[in-house]
């Protein structure tokens, strides 16, 4: 799960990481009072107006504007709130800006990068910092890897202050800034650990002209498995930032991701679902979605699956591919027949059922009278559904 910059900064502030602070508006009527409040509270004439969407690249897309005075702040707020912000991460359709964060403006001496995440291969947390802040860190890693310092943190030991010191030395900091940075890194780790984050990224972390260390941005990802014990975090979820159909699928316990093709598919198990998408493509079609119905494929899951898939107007045919292990294929077949009848489906449906009671299931489908195209193997099923989608 992701959160907005202002929410991430609120978390950092709670963990005593200095932030570029501000207030959020949801409607333009609040802009005037909020800009004045930011100017008063932080004793600044200039402010920064920042679009709050989950995707990165907001600045380049025109969603972050330095505003030297009140009038320009008003102007920028009007332009950004409600705009459709297109960045390299939103895709060409962009994302509607529903919230704008108005913050203090700071005089910056240097920008740094810092991030904490899990190193899957080592099973340790890794803390990375770089003197090249504000840049795309992947470029820095590829071109000037010597400018990135890393420490690995054993989860059984936690972060120790020598590790934070090594990171701060890696940034060539001195004096008060060095001391602050060490505290900031320790606090960042505590925040990452205690909130079950899977990633915390501050890019940039800045050294101001008056030698203060401040987080100018905050990006958090959280481990979805931990949300049951992180109520404060899960309450921050902004459903506007998620795909509406994917959210609805989640309510049915279905794992759905929309794609651009026209062949819908419904499969039990994530690996088999991906393999089904792949074989549709290999057979000359384009998958319209990923949909894993999980371990209990029954009449309700099949019905809900159809509802989700068919919200996508591009879908011209649907492939159901179930390998019945614990799931009995005859029950799945009954569910498919029921769903096809109740939903009065107009698109062709190809069904491939294998595993427990597959033979009984085939007979049920054949005897049902509903127009279902039975298939015997994944290859057969993929070829049939691609043909059906062409019509």
């Amino acid at each position: 799960m992701k959160i907005h910059e202002f929410q991430g900064k609120a978390l950092l502030k709670k963990y005593k990481v200095p932030i570029q602070d501000g207030f959020v508006i949801n409607c333009i009527e609040d802009a005037e009072a909020t800009i004045k409040k930011v100017q008063d509270t932080f004793n600044t004439e200039a402010v920064v107006v920042k679009a709050q969407i989950h995707a990165g690249g907001r600045g380049k897309g025109g969603g972050v504007k330095y505003s030297p005075n009140f009038e320009s702040a008003m102007e920028n707020s009007k332009n950004i709130l409600g705009m459709n912000l297109v960045t390299h991460q939103t895709g060409p359709t962009g994302q509607l800006v529903r919230k704008v964060y108005i913050t203090e403006a700071l005089d910056i001496k240097h920008e740094y990068y810092c991030a904490l995440t899990l190193d899957r291969a080592r099973g340790d947390h890794v803390f990375m910092v770089s003197t090249e802040g504000g840049m795309d860190i992947e470029t820095v890693a590829a071109e000037t890897p010597e400018k990135i310092s890393k420490v690995w943190i054993d989860p059984l030991i936690g972060m120790k202050s020598f590790q934070a010191r090594n990171l701060a030395y890696g940034l060539e900091l001195e004096g008060a800034a060095l001391k602050t940075a060490i505290k900031v890194f320790m606090n960042m780790y505590n925040c990452y650990h205690e909130t079950d984050a899977s990633m915390v990224e501050i890019n940039p972390l800045v050294l101001t002209e008056d030698d203060k260390i401040v987080a100018l941005d905050a990006k958090f990802n959280f481990d979805d498995n931990s949300l049951y014990r992180q109520k404060e975090i899960s309450d921050m979820q902004d459903l506007h930032e998620e795909d509406a159909t994917e959210v609805e699928a989640g309510k049915y316990n279905l794992n759905y991701i929309k794609l651009d093709g026209n062949v819908g598919c419904m499969v039990n198990g994530a690996g088999l679902a991906m393999a089904t998408m792949d074989i549709i493509k290999l057979s000359g079609g384009e998958p319209a979605n990923f949909l894993d119905v999980g371990g209990t494929a029954n009449a309700d899951t099949v019905k809900n699956g159809f509802k989700i898939i068919l919200q996508d107007q591009n879908v011209k045919a649907v492939l159901i591919n179930i390998f019945g292990g614990i799931v009995r294929c005859d029950r799945v077949a009954t569910g498919v027949i029921q769903a096809v009848k109740e939903l009065k489906l107009s698109v062709p449906v190809v069904v491939r059922l294998e595993g427990t009671n597959a033979i009984e299931a085939k007979k049920l489908l054949e005897d049902s009278g509903v127009s279902i195209i039975p298939a015997v193997s994944m290859k057969d099923a993929a070829e049939k559904v691609v043909k059906a989608a062409i019509g």
């Binding site: 990165g56 991460q89 991030a115 904490l116 995440t117 899990l118 190193d119 899957r120 291969a121 099973g123 340790d124 947390h125 890794v126 990375m128 795309d136 860190i137 992947e138 054993d154 989860p155 059984l156 650990h193 079950d196 899977s198 990633m199 990224e201 990006k219 990802n221 481990d223 498995n225 931990s226 049951y228 014990r229 991701i257 794609l259 198990g269 994530a270 690996g271 088999l272 991906m274 393999a275 089904t276 998408m277 792949d278 074989i279 549709i280 493509k281 290999l282 998958p287 990923f290 371990g295 390998f323 019945g324 292990g325 614990i326 294998e354 595993g355 427990t356 193997s377 994944m378 290859k379």
Partner: protein, 293 residues
């Protein structure tokens, strides 16, 4: 022979009185798995599976009473990490954890602890393991398997069943089939399973099924290139998966860029693995690999 488990494995079921635990323990027992005890804190002294299996309050107690050496865990995600640690400290040699949804930070700690204790863990979030006609641990359907000489290792559940089904239809049986699980942190990786298969005299070939994300398939492939004498057939799911749905910036740096299906398939081929472009080729390619041996 075979790997990880066999008919001599003495199995404890942690969470045996829960609905998942009792359902699957029944199926495992029917398959012939030697289940010697169940563990549910607070239900010690009772019995489970219609009186067939004694229940203990702790793994330590169950191990002492039954000399068990293997444990399988069907415990809800909030308690599963502790269940693994409990089994590890009780001296269980091999633990299988089926539970899906364990917090990653819990698993990171668990992994360090089991490594220190020298415990082998399969999973979590995995379908388990079957040594054909000897021992079934987990949720895989036993009836689809057939005794033979092919080892199967996979990240996925139903895709493993698909592979087994294709093997059987191609006239090939299996020694042991293993689902290692798809979580970011898991107990036993593909390379380790391949090492075990290489050393198992009953296994003549291995089917390796991977997917996008992480570096595990690549590490396994490099090991195959340098060490494996038996043919390996590979498939990677997710050629059409949209990029960027999982990886944050920082994560992408740590894991490098070779985690797409294309990159993995290329590296597998370079390492001498017979790679299936389509999932439908697994059975036929394995047969070919065994014939060419």
């Amino acid at each position: 022979m075979s790997i990880l488990v066999n008919k001599n494995s003495r199995v404890i079921v942690q969470g045996i009185t829960g609905s998942e635990g009792s359902f699957h323990a029944t199926q495992m027992l029917e398959y012939g798995t030697n289940i010697v005890a169940g563990v549910t804190p607070g239900k010690g002294g009772l019995s489970a599976l219609d009186g067939a299996i004694p229940v203990y309050n702790s793994v330590e107690e169950a191990k002492e009473a039954t000399d068990a050496n293997v444990s399988i865990i069907f415990v809800p995600p909030a308690f599963a990490a502790e269940a693994i640690i409990e089994a590890s400290f009780a001296g269980i040699e091999f633990i299988v954890c089926i539970t899906e949804g364990i917090p990653v930070q819990d698993m990171v700690e668990v992994k360090k602890i089991i490594d220190l204790n020298g415990t082998r863990l399969l999973g979590p979030n995995c379908p388990g393991v079957i040594t054909v006609d000897e021992c079934k641990l987990g949720i895989m359907p036993g009836f689809i398997t057939k005794k033979g000489s092919v080892g199967v290792v996979s990240k996925s559940g139903t895709l493993t069943y698909e592979a087994i089904d294709q093997l059987v239809k191609a006239g090939l049986g299996q020694t042991t089939a293993i689902g290692i699980g798809g979580d970011p942190i898991i107990g036993t990786d593909m390379k380790t399973i391949l090492q075990l298969f290489e050393n198992d005299p009953e296994t003549d070939a291995v089917v390796l099924i991977g997917e996008i994300g992480g570096q595990m398939e690549i590490e396994a492939a490099r090991w195959v290139k340098d060490n494996m004498s038996k043919p390996v057939v590979g498939f990677i799911a997710g050629q059409t998966a949209p990029p960027g749905r999982r990886m944050g910036h920082a994560g992408a740096i740590v894991s490098g860029g070779d985690d797409t299906a294309e990159a993995k398939m290329r590296i597998l081929k370079e390492c001498g693995i017979s790679v299936c472009e389509s999932v439908a080729e697994i059975g036929a390619k394995t047969k070919l690999a065994l014939n060419n041996k």
